[in-house]
Amino acid sequence: MITEDFAAYAARLRIGFPSEIPAEELQGMLESFMSGLAMDCLEAGTRLIGHIKCLVEGGDEIIACSVTDHDARVRCRGRFTAPRSQLDVIVNVLQYGLKKNELVRIVDACGKRSFPSQTSISIEDLEIEEKELIRLS
């Protein structure tokens, strides 16, 4: 179901906290981030959320969260069980209505907003590698 207004963005967020964050707070931040992505997309003009999903790995834990509904409700499989000082979050945003550059902006803004102010966040566009493969020069 690819229509003309379909756009997707895949990114990896490397998040470093100034100190260890308790598991429950991490869970809340991650869910707030995911819910925020959906709400920001809708506010910016997304016609239809396809699937906004993320994955956090580390140790024995794996937390996968997703949003599909326009009420921005987050469903998660797995929860944080231990405090952490850093997170590696892979996020996929698949939606209809916004262009990719708007999705890039939303992920960036929402990442900064959802985690504490002293947090360092770097965002890697996971599609760049694919683009390099078709570079002609």
Partner: protein
């Protein structure tokens, strides 16, 4: 080796359904099951989740097996067939895939002969009104390729919603099976597995 394609729009519950039903398929039939998971993103989230929960998965990220990844898909099916020789391979395409195109791709399969290929289409009960409004034509096309339709997330909707959905789906697929399921509560998963593998 039989093949089951479990397709449905983005977020319709494909991964959750598979996670919650593959165990039943194995227990009830003793069949050796392999998985092919196709994710649109560069890093396959769904495949990683399935592996974490103990399933053997071959991932095909970065595109859609119904178009750009078609040749890779055929290679993957042949490799799984030759190396692992499962009784059943379950294919989870990305939520943007056109199942008809996957079936058309399989016509070019040149490996050892396959058994049956069945297509199961999932339809999200929570978002049904929104999807009908926004995606009616592609959604109808997707339903046309179904051997069986599952109405998913039924624990979150009322009976009237299910009746509306059943009427809509029936108008597209006729007398083929329509099963309301909830992967979360387990409602009708046994019925689904029974219809799927005849056990």
């Amino acid at each position: 080796m039989d093949m089951i394609v479990i397709a449905g729009f983005l977020g319709s519950g494909k991964t959750t359904l598979i996670l919650n039903s593959v165990g039943q398929i194995t227990e009830r039939t003793g069949k050796k099951v392999a998985m092919i998971v196709n994710d649109f993103g560069n890093i396959g989230i769904d495949g990683k989740v399935m592996e974490k929960y103990g399933l053997k998965v071959q991932e095909l990220p970065r595109g859609c097996i119904c178009c750009t990844l078609g040749p890779s898909f055929l290679d993957t099916v042949r490799t799984i067939h030759d190396m692992y020789d499962p009784d059943l391979v379950i294919v989870e395409p990305s939520g943007i895939a056109d199942p008809d195109s996957i079936l058309a791709t399989m016509e070019h399969y040149r490996g050892r002969p396959l058994g049956k290929i069945n297509t199961v289409i999932l339809l999200d009960a929570v978002r049904f009104p929104l999807l009908v409004q926004a995606m009616k034509i592609p959604m109808t096309k997707q339903l046309h390729s179904a051997d069986m339709v599952l109405l998913t997330k039924t624990d979150e909707v009322d009976e009237d919603r299910l009746k509306d959905m059943e009427a809509f789906v029936k108008s597209v697929i006729g007398d083929k099976p329509i099963i309301p399921v909830s992967s979360t509560s387990g409602h009708n998963l046994d019925v689904f597995v029974g219809r799927l593998v005849g056990a």
